[in-house]
Symmetry: C2
Subunit: 242 residues, 2 copies
């Protein structure tokens, strides 16, 4: 119903990704692979958006700074994702590598020409834009009406149900820092930390270093995310396209 969580973090819907993501990927194949060290920026908010990027390896965060320096992370992106698809003039965010990354670059001009030319790429692109918007709306719901625990559980569920590799035998990799998570969820670092601790006390997750979490009770985590029937059947036997 809600489709929440189905596209984790902006556009990671494997069902669709397998089709569209890959077809858009073909555009970037020709480009050279660049290496971006963890913490380094890929582009800056306010600059002319002359390029799009595809992430080949690693994790990227998009953020905006408001007024006095408050930071908002609007999205995380993972291997396979295209960054900047919805830009028209300037970059509306700063993109930074969370982990060491490999990326490919494509000029927006060329991207648009190719999209306009190919009857195959066009629907893939439109599909991507639609999923980005839908995901942004999911995040609106989270920020608007969920409490700290629900936010964190939603976040962890999305990470855990990305069918990359990320969840091997219940062990979830969380590459981003607590501060990143906080700025993504509209909380403070302390509240994130406390929420994780409480989940650990209740034996729903078990932290293992800063960047790993053992998901002990996935079903409970899904319940606590406040996403009703999402993360239930839907995400368990996915692959089916609606």
């Amino acid at each position: 119903m809600l489709m929440q969580g189905q596209q984790a973090f902006e556009n990671v819907d494997l069902g669709a990704k397998a089709v569209q993501g890959n077809s858009l990927s073909s555009l970037f194949q020709m480009s050279a692979t660049e290496t971006v060290e963890a913490g380094k920026a890929i582009c800056w908010e306010g600059d002319a958006a002359r390029h799009l990027f595809q992430i080949t390896e690693g994790v990227v965060r998009l953020h905006r700074i408001i007024g006095d320096g408050r930071r908002v992370i609007t999205a995380f992106h993972f291997a396979g994702d295209v960054v900047g698809s919805f830009l028209q003039g300037d970059f509306l965010f700063t993109a930074e590598a969370v982990t060491d990354c490999k990326i490919r670059r494509l000029s927006r001009k060329q991207f648009q020409e190719e999209i306009e030319r190919s009857e195959l790429l066009r629907p893939a692109y439109i599909n991507l834009l639609c999923r980005e918007t839908a995901s942004a709306h999911d995040q609106l719901v989270l920020l608007s009406r969920k409490n700290a625990e629900e936010r964190l559980c939603t976040f962890l569920m999305k990470l855990a149900t990305r069918d990359d590799q990320s969840l091997r035998q219940g062990l979830l990799e969380v590459p981003m820092s607590r501060q990143d998570i906080a700025d993504y969820l509209g909380l403070t670092i302390e509240t994130v930390s406390r929420s994780i601790s409480k989940l650990a006390q209740r034996k729903i997750v078990a932290p293992d270093g800063r960047h790993n979490l053992r998901i002990v009770n996935l079903a409970r985590l899904a319940q606590l995310s406040g996403n009703v029937d999402d993360f239930s059947e839907r995400t368990c036997h996915r692959g089916s396209v609606h």
Copy 2:
């Protein structure tokens, strides 16, 4: 820079709207006009999204219900706006008339065919999708990091700078209820009410009935919105396209 507020409420950027909005409008010209009474629904979250709508007259709210009945309004739409552009399968929101409305309906199938056919409509559509995503991101920033006053001021500024008619001689029409505003801003009705009262005390606005506000000090309102340089030059002499 930030482009926040430039497209008020999802896609109301008159600069672009004059161009793209109108060209997409042509698609709906053939459809019969339907009348929707204030408060009535136009479509329901979860239903198959077989149609798109264009609003000819009136104001529409889009909302989602989460879990126990918390409501989130993800967008308001006004005359000229297209509703449902980014849907792929089911409706991700319930759309309801805030005021008495006139709408036109178009099947998604036909919409997609026309878009695919016309080299003029396609960029207009893509442009719309991009602006919807950008607007959603503005709203993410608001919900993530702004306090009650900043949220309200941002909302009022967006209303006031829609170059519809809405602001005649400093008198701003606010067609939606306090509850609608609260659910859009991620606040409670009481907090919205109190925030308005405080702005009134400080002589920044002057309420005139439930649905009208005299904007006494627009510049101050802009400052308080927390959108830095937005709503400044940008929104004052708009019409220029970047």
